[in-house]
């Protein structure tokens, strides 16, 4: 049982890798950015675990800025992905402009909340 499940797991990982390698480079860059943002968030949580959560507003704004940019990058990826039928009439420039606008608002709020 364990052997079959481990071999299943290996087959799974292999197929995931091969399927992911097929995605275009642009999307992979966005995915990399998302991973970077999440890692930064994790580092901040670990730091808070060590040092304590005072001042809480700074901690919140730091975490939420990482999560926020990750979410927005995922939204951009959804809109730019050519395989998505729902967004075929949305030009990538418009998607990127929306992304920039939303990031501006997000970072303005973060700057204000950072204290």
């Amino acid at each position: 049982m364990a052997k079959s499940s481990s071999s299943d797991a290996q087959a799974l990982i292999r197929s995931l890798r091969s399927a992911y390698a097929a995605t275009p480079t642009k999307l992979k860059i966005i995915d990399l950015y998302v991973v970077y943002a999440i890692t930064t968030a994790v580092i901040q949580i670990v730091y808070m675990g060590i040092v304590g959560s005072f001042p809480f507003n700074s901690f919140l704004s730091g975490i939420l800025s990482c999560v926020g940019t990750a979410v927005l990058a995922v939204c951009l990826r959804i809109q730019v992905n050519k395989e998505n039928k729902e967004f075929k009439d949305l030009s990538p420039e418009r998607a990127f402009a929306d992304f920039v606008l939303c990031n501006l608002v997000l970072h303005l709020v973060i700057m204000n909340f950072l204290g």
Binding site: S5, D8, A9, A11, L12, S15, L16, A19, Y20, A22, T23, S53, F56, N57, L60, S61, L64, V67, G68, V71, L72, V74, C75, L76, I78, Q79, E83, N84, E86, F87, L90, A95, D98, F99, L101, C102, V105, L106, V109, I110, N112, F113
Partner: protein, 839 residues
């Protein structure tokens, strides 16, 4: 053959979705008999005409919403109503005088003496900032309106905005799939919202309260959410977050939004309607919304945490956020893997996931269960368990707005909409889309919450208007379509009766399949008109309901057919005409009721009272008289004690420091005042003296029959005081469980401060001391006050102001009375013991 062409024309008109977002107002204009090549040019002209007509109608709806709220200004004067608006007015005055930085950091020391109140951190700034910026803008344009005028008229302006937002919200639902809803439904919903009494009650001119702008923000936020859901554009998601921020600034009811939207997302996921647009609509809103909500000082970290424990960190919207990400990941992986591999992945993930989730859940439950209220605040708990407040928190239970509503209040507040709503709900199911499911969820939750608290009927009003707008629009659609379809035939053939049109409809080749259902509805339709003609004089409203059910059936049958072979189920001509007439009469009843409610029921400013008697109109302006007396005859730093109802008005109009006010944030302080009012004179004097009080204010309605006076509220004072100070017991004031102030009242009642201050010298008015509100003569008629002196009583004895007597001077040396030597020695020996100056 002309007939199939007709069908095509109507087919294309009624059922296609237009490329532009403007939709021609349905069925108001007859299709011409021209051939298709001219139809395009005519179609665009008609579309333009329809667009202009729509804009004009919207302007009229805005004007209607504004003007129906002006009754109080016309009947009384441009004055701020009630209690809470006076506080908002005072804060706005401060803002306009001192600027935004001072406002943001304001610590108010003229209320809750000696505690003070941090205004910057405990007030929802949206309303004051809105009115302040309108005032600033107008003054910079050299239109010198006073702050009071701006405050009075803010609510009607924003109700016009709310009506336009309702138009947008009702128009937005799936406009690119079916033309079931559209501009017609939007206009109807907007017109209904402009007049609905429930909204009027909280937004008349002069009711300068949070809900005036908050309802507009609520509807606008929902509109932007639906728009994002439909278009999947990140731009609208940003606007949605900003609009949510405005809502958080304005009202505590923002929790409704931040709980409803995750519920809807969950519903979409569970019913298998997950799409990437859902992710774009929800995920940025959570992140941006949480951040923006934390910016508002009143909310602060409550946006993220619901209890003191940091670990129970997840609010509902964040939990759904996580669930949404899991679902998104699952869909993504499903997209890139083959089905077999996907199954393997699922089994692996499920086994690991269940183990992790149960561990996390166990920790969470343990932490939340260890806090006494399980992480909810008192008010929210009372929403879930309506009996909670009456058992544990008497202050929340005593506010009349927090009581559950009665059935008649539904018909008073939303009138006709109450039975149009179910028809609208059914119409939303055909077809069910993301947006329709959202509106259905909105109305379901708001109906539940309005059943718990009367104040929340306000949240029900927009949902009811949207549903009713959809229902009415559908009904009109069905009827006018039948008329439109049959009218040309009527003009071509002989001026005939229903029989001819029956034959005409049955001749249609495309309608052959539906002969039986057609006949059935036609026969039933024919029976109904004759019944109606008989019963017409008796019950018009019920007939309107039958018509609506029939309309509903028809839309059922119409929408069940496939799109390309849509058969028009046509009613006989007279039935449709009669039905339209009855719908219009229904609308007329609604309008009449709304105008009556606005004029008679909801326009009273409650600071000025009027009564009609045989010699004309009496105006009771006692409150303002009392506050003006206080303002002119006392020192600026004198403290005034009264029950908390009048705190805001006293600080705003009399400009004196008060002990407790309507914010009711400190229960012990209120209980102290309540205890003082319930105690005899000496202990009450002690309590008030310890609070540096100089004047005591009571409201008394016994002379004129004003029933919201302090004697009627007295039992609440006893309950709240007794909740903190156990020596005040409610049964002491009741005789056999009954609350009375006549000769059979208990001695505790007859000796308490409230009784004495209310009825002091009352017997001088008519010789017998007959209290018009309680309907009896008072118990103790002739008495003196030892520790208080009366300084002012208003014209109708409605407000009475007393001053605390300063303590007597201590007398050293010989006592005043001349006594014989025997008693003198006794007095001399007593001099060594400290004498209480008050006994």
């Amino acid at each position: 053959m002309l007939q199939p062409l007709n069908l095509n024309r109507i087919h294309r008109w009624g059922l296609q979705s237009p490329p532009a977002s403007h939709r021609l107002l349905p069925c108001l204009i007859q299709p011409s008999m021209a051939d298709p090549s001219e139809a395009k040019g005519e179609g665009s002209l008609r579309k333009a005409f329809g667009g202009v007509l729509g804009v004009f109608i919207l302007l009229l709806i805005g004007t209607l919403a504004f003007s129906i709220r002006l009754f109080s200004v016309i009947k009384y004067e441009s004055v701020i109503h009630e209690f809470d608006p006076y506080f908002n007015y005072r804060v706005t005055q401060f803002l306009t005088k001192n600027g935004i930085y001072d406002f943001w950091n304001w610590f108010d020391d003229r209320t809750w003496y000696p505690l003070g109140r941090v205004i910057g951190g405990t007030v929802y700034p949206g309303l004051t900032l809105t009115a302040g910026s309108i005032w600033w803008l107008l003054n910079n344009l050299n239109i010198p309106l006073s702050v009071e005028t701006v405050c009075v008229f803010t609510a009607p302006i924003f109700s016009a905005n709310a009506a336009w937002a309702t138009y947008l919200l009702t128009k937005a639902p799936p406009s690119h799939q079916f033309e079931v809803k559209g501009t017609g439904a939007g206009l109807t919903a907007a017109a209904l919202l402009a007049m609905v009494p429930s909204y009027i009650s909280r937004s008349v001119a002069g009711s300068y309260d949070n809900e005036a702008v908050a309802i507009f923000a609520l509807i606008f936020t929902f509109y932007l959410y639906i728009k994002t859901l439909n278009t999947g554009s990140l731009f609208y998601a940003t606007l949605n977050a900003l609009s949510y921020f405005y809502m958080v600034c304005s009202w505590g009811g923002y929790t409704f939004i931040i709980n409803l939207i995750p519920m809807h997302v969950l519903l979409c996921i569970v019913t298998g309607r997950y799409s990437s647009r859902l992710y774009i609509a929800y995920a940025p809103l959570v992140v941006l919304g949480t951040l923006l909500a934390s910016l508002v000082p009143v909310v602060g970290f409550n946006a993220v945490m619901t209890s003191e424990h940091f670990a129970s960190f997840l609010v509902k919207c964040q939990e759904v956020f996580i669930i949404l990400h899991v679902v998104a990941l699952v869909y993504y992986i499903k997209g890139i893997l083959s089905p077999k591999m996907f199954k393997v992945a699922m089994t692996l993930v499920v086994t690991i996931g269940i183990a992790v989730c149960s561990a996390v859940l166990a920790i969470l439950i343990a932490l939340v269960a260890s806090s006494p209220t399980k992480g909810w605040s008192g008010r929210s708990l009372s929403l879930l368990d309506p009996t909670y407040a009456s058992k544990y928190i008497p202050i929340i239970a005593s506010v009349s707005e927090h009581q559950p509503p009665t059935w008649p209040s539904y018909f008073m507040d939303i009138n006709v909409l109450a039975f149009l709503v179910p028809a609208g709900i059914v119409a939303c199911f055909l077809p069910l889309s993301d947006a329709s499911s959202f509106v259905i969820l909105y109305i379901a939750t708001s109906v539940y919450f309005s059943g718990v608290m009367v104040r929340l009927m306000l949240v029900l009003a927009p949902a009811a208007c949207i549903m009713s707008g959809i229902a009415l629009s559908e009904a009109f659609d069905a009827f006018t379509r039948s008329i439109k379809f049959q009218l040309p035939k009527l003009f071509e053939a002989s001026p005939s009766d229903a029989g001819d049109t029956n034959r005409g409809t049955q001749d249609e080749p495309t309608k052959v399949d539906n002969n039986t259902p057609t006949e059935k509805t036609e026969t039933t339709a024919k029976e109904r008109p004759s019944e109606k003609h008989r019963k017409k004089e008796k019950k018009k409203l019920e007939k309107g309901k039958e018509i609506k059910e029939k309309g509903k059936e028809n839309t059922d049958k119409v929408s069940n057919k496939p799109l390309n072979a849509k058969k028009l189920l046509v009613l006989p001509l007279e039935a449709s005409a009669v039905a339209i007439l009855l719908l219009l009469i229904l609308g007329a009843f609604y309008v009449v009721h709304c105008v009556w409610a606005a004029a008679e029921a909801y326009s009273a400013p409650s600071i000025v009272l009027t009564s009609h008697s045989h010699d004309g109109l009496h105006v009771f302006d006692d409150f303002r008289e009392a506050y003006a007396w206080l303002k002119h005859n006392t020192d600026v730093d004198d403290k005034v004690a009264s029950w908390w109802d009048y705190g805001y008005q006293t600080t705003a109009m009399a400009n004196r420091t008060v002990i407790v006010d309507n914010n009711t944030w400190n229960n012990t302080h209120i209980a102290t005042v309540g205890t003082a009012m319930s105690s005899p004179e000496k202990p009450a004097w002690d309590i008030f003296n310890s609070l540096d009080v100089k004047y005591v204010l009571v409201v008394f309605g016994g002379l004129v029959g004003y029933s919201s006076d302090d004697i009627n509220k007295f039992l609440w004072m006893v309950r709240i005081g007794g909740g903190v100070f156990p020596h005040i017991r409610e049964p002491d004031y009741l005789r056999d469980g009954q609350y009375r102030i006549d000769a059979h009242a208990t001695p505790t009642m007859l000796n308490c401060l409230m009784y004495k201050l209310s009825y002091y010298r009352f017997v001088e008015t008519d010789g017998k001391g007959f209290d018009r509100v309680r309907g009896t003569e008072i118990g103790k008629k002739h008495f003196r006050l030892t520790h208080f002196e009366e300084v002012f009583t208003t014209h109708h004895w409605m407000v009475r102001i007393y001053k605390l007597k300063s303590p007597k001077n201590r007398i050293r040396g010989k006592s005043k009375k001349k006594t014989n030597p025997k008693t003198t020695s006794k007095i001399n020996s007593n001099k060594n013991v400290k004498k209480n100056p008050w006994q």
